[in-house]
Symmetry: D2
Subunit: 435 residues, 4 copies
Amino acid sequence: MITTLPQPTKRKPDTAIYERLESAVRSYARSMPRQFARAEGVWMHDNQGGRYLDFLSGCSTLNYGHNHPVLKSALMDYIAGNGITHGLDLHTDAKADFLAALEQVILKPRGLDYRAMFTGPTGTNAVEAAIKLARKVTGRELVIAFTNGFHGMTLGALACTGNAAKRSGAGIPLSHVAHEPFEGYHGPQIDTAELLERRLADPSSGLDAPAAILVETVQGEGGLNAASPEWLREIAAIAKRHGALMIVDDIQAGCGRAGSFFSFEGMGFTPDIVTMAKSLSGMGLPFALALFRPELDQWSPGEHNGTFRGNNHAFVTAAAALRHFWSDGQFQQDIARRSRMLERRLDAMASEHGLSTRGRGMIRGIDIGSGKIAQAVTAACFAQGLIIETSGAHDEIVKVLAPLVIDDAVLSAGLDILEESIRAALPLAYGVAAE
Amino acid sequence: MITTLPQPTKRKPDTAIYERLESAVRSYARSMPRQFARAEGVWMHDNQGGRYLDFLSGCSTLNYGHNHPVLKSALMDYIAGNGITHGLDLHTDAKADFLAALEQVILKPRGLDYRAMFTGPTGTNAVEAAIKLARKVTGRELVIAFTNGFHGMTLGALACTGNAAKRSGAGIPLSHVAHEPFEGYHGPQIDTAELLERRLADPSSGLDAPAAILVETVQGEGGLNAASPEWLREIAAIAKRHGALMIVDDIQAGCGRAGSFFSFEGMGFTPDIVTMAKSLSGMGLPFALALFRPELDQWSPGEHNGTFRGNNHAFVTAAAALRHFWSDGQFQQDIARRSRMLERRLDAMASEHGLSTRGRGMIRGIDIGSGKIAQAVTAACFAQGLIIETSGAHDEIVKVLAPLVIDDAVLSAGLDILEESIRAALPLAYGVAAE
Amino acid sequence: MITTLPQPTKRKPDTAIYERLESAVRSYARSMPRQFARAEGVWMHDNQGGRYLDFLSGCSTLNYGHNHPVLKSALMDYIAGNGITHGLDLHTDAKADFLAALEQVILKPRGLDYRAMFTGPTGTNAVEAAIKLARKVTGRELVIAFTNGFHGMTLGALACTGNAAKRSGAGIPLSHVAHEPFEGYHGPQIDTAELLERRLADPSSGLDAPAAILVETVQGEGGLNAASPEWLREIAAIAKRHGALMIVDDIQAGCGRAGSFFSFEGMGFTPDIVTMAKSLSGMGLPFALALFRPELDQWSPGEHNGTFRGNNHAFVTAAAALRHFWSDGQFQQDIARRSRMLERRLDAMASEHGLSTRGRGMIRGIDIGSGKIAQAVTAACFAQGLIIETSGAHDEIVKVLAPLVIDDAVLSAGLDILEESIRAALPLAYGVAAE
Amino acid sequence: MITTLPQPTKRKPDTAIYERLESAVRSYARSMPRQFARAEGVWMHDNQGGRYLDFLSGCSTLNYGHNHPVLKSALMDYIAGNGITHGLDLHTDAKADFLAALEQVILKPRGLDYRAMFTGPTGTNAVEAAIKLARKVTGRELVIAFTNGFHGMTLGALACTGNAAKRSGAGIPLSHVAHEPFEGYHGPQIDTAELLERRLADPSSGLDAPAAILVETVQGEGGLNAASPEWLREIAAIAKRHGALMIVDDIQAGCGRAGSFFSFEGMGFTPDIVTMAKSLSGMGLPFALALFRPELDQWSPGEHNGTFRGNNHAFVTAAAALRHFWSDGQFQQDIARRSRMLERRLDAMASEHGLSTRGRGMIRGIDIGSGKIAQAVTAACFAQGLIIETSGAHDEIVKVLAPLVIDDAVLSAGLDILEESIRAALPLAYGVAAE
């Protein structure tokens, strides 16, 4: 069907203004050299009339697609009525409504008793707040994070991030954090939770008593490594045994991406602290949240603050998103069905080329084995109008982060493009390798 | 005239949902216990029909007032047209338009050659990016900040912040930063720039060679201390002499608050790096920016990133704000006129009670001498519908951060309330002190 | 034979002066409450006429026994002739003579091309100098040390030490060091060198590129874990591959303790830096040394210094010791013979009780399995005049550090006491456990 | 009189062995290229028969001269009798005797109630122990040290040291220490104690609450700046007021060098902790000590240790030195008389050339104004057989550290050499400058 296919523009637009004025730090714009004008649902449109299918979703920020009509309408009404746009941490109608939706739609049905802290509206702010709180409550300084973990770019969160290129940007040594091996890091024979337990139980291991263990259930930037429920339960037990708080960074895997609202649902443990951002506002607006057990809420007023910690536009769209998508089980069932299709299709592609897949729910990818070839795949996809990116220590994983609301037929059409692009890139790669 | 007066609600609203669900870290909501519903211009309205005059302006985030019709209209049009809401750092029409406005309206007329980096959309993200860049470019690690400086709450920026209560929230020692005395810190006789020069010139002072000197021209949170052009020029010269970059944190004092778009205009020096946030989007949307000389733009692609670094709604309102307010000199003249009124009125109040004033442009305050009495003043103001807050190490400064667009008559009416509140609080205070 | 047996005093001496004046930090004096007056060879004499056999040897500082006549005579002659006692780092006859002995007796025969740096005369000073140099030469900051490693108590060396009780004494977080698992730490199935290689080869492991890998070939304080030549060679190869310097801390295992002068001889690799102290002076005088490849000698004059870095008395005794014990192979053969006896006897004791042994050469022990029982063993030994101590994370290893010059018959007699003490302590222990 | 004059050797000795084997880090040996063989009192003899007058005294380590017969005799008797040489921290006759002497000769007469901790036998070890203890006792992390302070080269002490060349040797950023201006640092008009008080009293100064204030009463390496009793009392009061411990580092200025046994005697305050080393053993043997109020003695057994922490040879000579020199007031009177002569002579030299002097007691110098010329002065002195060195941030101070036991006539003769060398160097210097 014609409407399922992208129609990319072939010609690069004029980018002189970016080259003249924007910092060299920009990245995605380099591999996807178009100027985008508008977007709705799974489609992005450039300023030359081209149409692109979005399998990146703002790195999981647009789980509900671009400009979802329900959210958009709620926001426009709010703005039209001169709703509070910026109110520091003052009480507003929009905040009260968001809190009510969070309680009724999310926390109560899941039996979770959490307090919500509106940190600065970026994921890294939420992570900073979470580790500050863990250090304050425990009186300890070390945070245990994991190999390939990604938690943000401000210094506290960056210290928890594994990636060497990001870390070296700090310009100072990053301290007070130890990176331990994630599940499967040392191969299937070695239980890395056991390694961690041994070190924490040993007073001579050199690993100080930790304030927190900070973990992603699926490592979004670090290669789509999905931890098993067993391993995560063991990590939770280790944290408890050693007096540390368990923080689940659900910024990328949460909001339905891994299959349920929180990525850890049904796994048999409850994190002490959860960080959320990305798709939380539903519409791509800056918004972040730290949730924690009430007895951990030991903040003094204003001890951690931030000018934009109450982004009221985001309160509005987030409340609308929670109510629209999570009030019953339909959306979760849709995600499950699409996840199965995604899994089946990726497994087939992997099997065809002797490759392996990664991930869980709608955060999945295929390990191409080389960052260079993976980039050739994504470039070929983009040439056909499919926006898709890589992940992993060497950018060797092509990751599919389609909007969760994607039509099954469109998902299938996008995966066709990916399948062909892998076929096109891999023989070439082997040919190059054979020379 | 009746329309210049607030009409506050006397009754506190139901706050059960906040107490049940929101973290104890909330602060402003405690001293201003109302639930706000909508706002326009200088007025905020609560959900019981009360009307409040805003002399806080989101801590200088709402320099153009709440929901300015020009910005609001631009944003609604953009949303209605399904403009890109979230696009990571992809090129968008909205970004291109903002860059064009920044170049034409701000940079070119001021002869500034800067590159723009869209950091995560909070001030602290911009500061983190700035100090990272300075450390990377210089290969040095120490940042020199100043007593009473405030730069944010993530660990890198928090290390630069002077406030002990904020600092202790870190839970770890904050390193790689030295705080040197701001202008006037040791009294009028001591030139603190000379003290700094002496220490940097002395290889045995224990002060390592710095990557950057980070300074606010007016210390917004730290007591409205306004540095003189002479002192700032000397600091700029010291930075240059010792191979450090000069970073002006213009997050609170910029965007017209201190009288001109950049707070350092006309002072005879050009910072190497400037950080901006707060009023940059014009409408209170999360948005932050680091500007720096092109030769400092040594970032690798993606070396510093962040999910919300391209807040397109903010691009739209920011571009509209730049064009509407800064295309000619009218707005700056209005600010100057209001500043003079503010200065005159505050001087009179100070003189009446033997107090002193602080600040510059439209970021001014009166030193009440005690945090407790200052709080009594602001509480009395709030009871009459004036939203106003304190600043300073002991919260002893009552600060006036009225929207820059405020009508002269309304400004005057608000200052009347402040004047009366000081009169009411001070005798009481002296009475208390006398007992 | 009567002369092989200790004759301990039963009565505790008056210790009022220590309790009144000496810090509570003293430790050995608590478990061995006697006041010692003189010592020669393997025997220590208390001030009440008691005689004790020394199986502690100043924690391997007295490999040649107490007051060896050759060293004592050389020192007395030197003092009598008004030889330089203290000369900072000035050239002295004593220093020149030590350097000549080091070159002729030690370095040349082993084909080692090292420069000698006289650091402050304690082991921790040598470790501090070694890691400083590694950081300077590589321009990197991280040092990799190992679980259960012990390297000293000043902050740089303490950061490399694994023991939590020692580490917590710092009062600040110890940074810039990562502790990786020593050989066998995770059981015989897991090759910890492979784990380390994987982490260093992975740009997303969170382990920064190291300046140095710091290792003991036998962990003296950490439980007498002896690394295999294969593992050490692999560690050396990993260091080389990743641009790090390999530092062998030979402070406790060197000077013949592990069987040869350097503990790593004949293992197929050459460390970039070696630290030495303890038995280096031969007579127990404070003396430490860092040895490194000439091309690493990138120090500026005085960049690392210390008042006592030229302990000339130690130069004299050290030169005499090198010449007396290491000019031919006899001493090494004696050590080998005694090592075999020690190994045989400890294996028999372990076998009798189902325990295991640790160590190599003359640094061996028996794992009692519990610090409490191990302490009962050493207390029982002391009651019979045998000075012996524990090692390990839980003080659960009874370690034999007899002087290397010990008579075979005396060694045997001392081991008899140990054997009986274990027999006496273990049934009691089991009895206690059974209740 | 002929015996008061040095008789230096003109010819440099063979130094091949040092160049081949000793690290480039050596420093004094470069400016005094002789090989020394023996020494007694104030005289050092090289291996070619030359005789040198020692105005360096091992940087104040040889306050009683070289090989003082009383100390030498005590040590030889002890060694001859097989006294314990090395005993870890076991009780020994030698330790008991030292503690008794310390109590009777030093502490009791001065009304001081201190516990003694035998740290590793170098000054830097004592400083590390002192700051560890202060951090442990207060639960705080920051140490305040001063500009131009010198406290040692291990990482904890080095962080407290001001000198940039020494600091940069660390290879990592040195943290948890702030350097505040010493007395007079900003000229005579500015009271730096007031500056410090202001910063500590200000919760927004960025200076965290300190665990300790670490100060030398006379800065030995940092330019012989002598603090006044008034300033030191004020620092002590500031420490007390803000809950910090005051640590006097008396390693260089103590043991009579500044005129009394402790450099702070009679000043009206009592430090919480005192560090000692250098001349403590009396004969130049490695020995260090931390003294502190009994209630601060909160160490766990072995929490800070070190192999050589009981240097028994040093106990013997130290006890002998305390009894010989400090049992009555004669020695202190001799020091006072020689100090006056030194002061008078240096003042005259300074006055002749328009220079200034520094220091107090027998730790005094003359500010030559340039490191290059100061080096010319010391080189000219050495050519005439006078061993003398420089101090200060730029090595611009020629410092006189003659043994305290020096004969008045010999002191005078040495000062004659210095006087002539200054005369010779200064016109040359001006000549050079004039070109």
